[in-house]
Symmetry: C3
Subunit: 140 residues, 3 copies
């Protein structure tokens, strides 16, 4: 049984910038030598989230953000902002509802994603950020 | 320490069809012989998601879909659809926000769900689909 | 390789009461002696969820609930309630969409959260509840 810890570092633009980190994750899985097991990925920070998405310009540049704008509009009124005099109340709410982490199976030395399914970071903050995704891998 | 990989295959109707796969998952956990550990389940593809839900007709047939219809309406305008000339932009958005995977504890040889808590696949695509859920199990 | 199972018991007020259980979780990780691995946490029951959030009064007491009120309003009409003659249809919908579980990496004997990132239980039920979070830990 093998256990590994790894970091993936990404630069984002903020404002629901969605970044595909599938290649970096699959490379870590391949380098670990683990054939069957589990990968856990978590973004550090409370204004970003992880999920999977077909990484194409319509969804990435418009559709996901448009849906979240209904749920937690960027220009909405947030108690968070009144207290802290900042502008990212919607970023915190969106990140909480999408979720900070992913549990992913490893089979045959890879995460068995669909062809049109990429692993993505969604950065909801209101400015460019350097993000760290912590990944641990467990398996044989 | 044991590591197992398994598949659960399901047929769905699409259009936010919600399918209970608790029995299939608990059977895999029981067959593995693992008493304490973790199960990771991920649906392959970018228009479906996993979660837990009380599996009763009101929630399954109406309430969950009604909430998601507000967030990402089926008849909405999606950049995804303009590019690809298809009709499932809302399916991708819903799947990304609910999330593709579940991390589940195994205790006493079972996933300790509540009585009214079932493990479900939510298929948001616009047509019937055959779905594969990849499950890996790690533990003692 | 170590495997541990633990319980965290919490009392909540319901009505989107958000409870920070970071300290309890980090204590379990520390006591396990695991330096590198994975923690899986799942709330038992279908009207609560787990995520991470900056635990400050504006987000906790107002902003997250306000966003979910748009998606699944407490006073909305739910098929669940017509069948079961209860009042928590919105609780089930919110819990399903946020999700019941978290997969968290363990690195250097801790879950490497951000400074302003806490692990939280969101209780959407309409009355005070005693909640159980099941945690399993795997690693070296």
């Amino acid at each position: 049984m093998e256990v590994r810890r790894e970091l993936i570092e990404l630069e984002t633009e903020g404002d629901t910038d969605i970044v595909d980190f599938t290649a970096a994750l699959q490379a870590l899985v391949a380098e670990s030598g683990i054939r069957v097991g589990q990968a856990t990925a978590m973004v550090v920070g409370s204004t970003a989230a992880l999920s999977t998405l077909e990484y194409e310009p319509g969804l990435v540049g418009h559709d996901v953000a448009a849906a979240l704008e209904k749920l937690a509009p960027a220009a909405g009124r947030y108690a968070h902002e009144e207290t802290w005099h900042d502008d990212n109340g919607h970023s915190h709410v969106r990140a909480c509802l999408v979720g900070p982490s992913l549990a992913l199976p490893i089979v045959d030395g890879t995460v068995p994603l669909g062809t049109w399914q990429q692993v993505v970071l969604l950065d909801f903050d209101t400015r460019p950020r350097q993000r760290t995704i912590v990944v641990t891998l467990v398996g044989d």
